[in-house]
């Protein structure tokens, strides 16, 4: 259960769906003379916008892989988790969030739900309540602010909590390494190197971002371990414009160290939905009739 707590905490799951892979379709920079930090700040700012009033149904598959005949092939049956999630951004700057996530698959974890309130103010701890389906009761969890937590796997996948963090641009030094074409798109290749404050809580010595110049979204990310070896590749596809935000509905992370991949497929997503004020409370964890009735009305926006 511990891994579920960490996976759910601080809204990491919602960020998993939406972060890093979004871009506003409006207000594109006119100037080419942007600094790397400005670009990454801009990309980072889209994350919260994308997570506001969102209902999503996502499938997270993970497997060990090999490359055969120029194809990436899973050599074991993939592990699959299907999760439905509702998220609201709150506060004047929309920097606080409330979310509820329910595991639909696998059968072993079906019905486990988590309610999370996270705050931009680092002095306020994330609040989370876990619904234990075996016991039929809600339990408060203590997850802290997550500021000093070692990165952990999200739902047993190759995505980690660190991969999903937003609002941490101050903790990196950014440099534009190159500009040019990547898979037919004009991109910046931006290097992020962690500052000392970040080094203590990161698995990476540097991160490379391939940022589309036109849409300002990440097309590919590579991370390097503390020995400066290539560690992970994250690839994106199926970009869609939803509510004026570009979203990659499919992303795959390859852990090159252990040859294991995880693919997140956002099967359904509705943004800008109206959520009942009391829906994101403990009631939705135990009152299934109420929860399903509310979700049914929101699923119409898929």
């Amino acid at each position: 259960m511990n891994h579920l707590i960490k996976s759910f905490s601080r809204n990491y799951f919602t960020l998993l769906i939406l972060s890093m892979f979004t871009s506003a379709s409006f207000g594109i920079f006119a100037s080419e003379n942007k600094t790397a930090r400005q670009i990454m700040q801009r990309v980072d700012n889209q994350q919260r916008a994308a997570a506001d009033s969102t209902l999503s149904l996502s499938r997270l598959s993970s497997c060990p892989y090999v490359i055969k005949s120029k194809k990436v092939v899973c050599h074991q049956t993939p592990r699959v988790k299907v999760i439905e999630s509702v998220t609201l951004q709150l506060g004047d700057a929309k920097k606080d969030s409330q979310s509820i996530s329910i595991i639909l698959e696998p059968a072993r974890e079906q019905g486990i739900g988590m309610l999370t309130y996270s705050y931009d103010d680092s002095a306020r701890d994330t609040e989370s309540w876990l619904y234990l389906s075996a016991l039929g009761k809600v339990k408060r969890m203590a997850s802290g602010s997550g500021e000093d937590q070692e990165p952990v796997s999200l739902f047993g996948s190759e995505f980690t909590t660190e991969d999903m963090e937003s609002g941490k641009t101050d903790e990196y030094e950014y440099t534009i390494l190159q500009e040019g074409k990547y898979t037919g798109r004009n991109v910046w290749v931006i290097e992020a190197k962690p500052k000392p404050v970040r080094l203590r809580k990161t698995d990476y010595s540097r991160i490379l971002f391939w940022i589309d110049k036109d849409k300002e979204l990440a097309l590919k990310i590579q991370t390097y371990d503390k020995q400066h070896k290539l560690f992970k590749r994250i690839m994106f596809k199926r970009f869609e414009l939803i509510n004026e935000l570009w979203i990659a509905r499919e992303m795959t992370v390859f852990n090159l160290r252990i040859k294991r991949l995880s693919k997140m497929n956002t099967q359904k997503i509705a943004m800008g939905i109206e959520v009942a004020p009391l829906f994101l409370t403990q009631r939705s964890l135990t009152d299934f009739a109420y929860r399903e009735q509310n979700l049914d009305s929101l699923r119409k926006f898929f």
Binding site: C63, K71, A107, A142, T281
Partner: protein, 454 residues
Amino acid sequence: MFFRLIYVTILLLNFSLHVSAEESLLDGDELFTDVYENSAYEDDVSGIDYSVSEGLELGDSSLQDSSSGVHTASWFKKIGIGFSGDLSQGQELEIGRFNFNLKYEDAIFPNAYIKLDSKLTYFHQKDDLAETAGTDYGHAKVNDAWFQYSYKRCVAKVGYQSLFWGVVEGSYALDIINPLDTTEPLLTDYSELSQSQGLMLVNCYFSDSDFELFYLSDAKVDKYSHKSRALFDQLESSLNDEWGVRYSYHLEGVDFTLMYAHLYENTPHLKVDLLDPSFLELQSFRYDLIGLSFSWAIERLLIEADLAYKQDQYKNQIFVVGQPVEPDDLFEIALGFEYLTSRNHQFSAGVWFFDAREESFDLRPKHSQLWSLSWRKQYLNDTLSLSLLGGWVKQPERFSLTALAEYELDDYWIISSSISHVNGAKSDSDSQSNNGLPLTASEFSTQLSVKWQY
């Protein structure tokens, strides 16, 4: 000189590798990317798409069809089945069981929800329960069979279900609504250790608080066996209703709960007649419970407490016909904490102060304590879970240590194994040796559980 040459060569190699890596950044045809991009687009039945890119279609703002591969919400998907086998070996085989589990849950119409969860168990003839019964046998059990209907701020839930009160895990200061089912092995879901009962539950929710009312018409007592239950059935048929209310208030980081309940004792007393050895009767008395619990989350530390005031408690396990017994009021407290380290080790500890029942005819109260300490961590992408649990009870004295490993083979199979060491005093009647020193019993046991769920 030779080493300097190697050093310079390494430096040059490093530089050239770095340059070649940087040069390839924009090609989009690095070996791996090439493989990745050129893979056939094929979805397997398990949902893994072995390739990624069909070309970026950034100019297309229309929504793509998102219906492919969606989660099918058919009634069939709401059915869950499972098989499991449990084995436990101490000095001899203690548990040998095979279980079949069937579940169904669904929102059958607006604002309504049902859940059915039943289990059929076959007890092998070497299983302790089967040996007591004298033969192998099968037993069906209903864990959940309830209907829930939600209306405005309230929801009613009627049927077979378990109700858990209190927040400190492993203590029974407040978690005493449902009696225990001790026929279940300890490696099973904790929920199955609680005996489901037919009850009605009403909850009403407000912005910062919620209210709960439960009522059950027929109280039950702890279950120790499936066969030869005549005395227990006789007792349960004489018991009446139980009810209680609970009010919870939530602040940022803190939950408070107040409880009141009118209950029967879950663990019955044994009544004997010293003049008539054939006389044997079980008794369970009504009492009132007033409880308070709270949880307080401070960063990664969770502090929990359960306080219980129980009226009309009888401290003797055995009553003698003709011997007067007086009820007493008891106060119990359970404290617990959970802490998640920055490296994601999860520690928890708890202590429960309670009055243990006196098993002899001695009327002296036995103040007891149960201490517990546990550690847990996930490894290998959360497929392997390791945990240690230590416990110590003061009266009757008992120490136990259990190491548990759970490994998920895939999304369906999970293997759990444990090794336990128990060191405890024997029962009061034989706990004193001839020289007055207490006798202790020490035993190692291993347990294996294999479970498949779909």
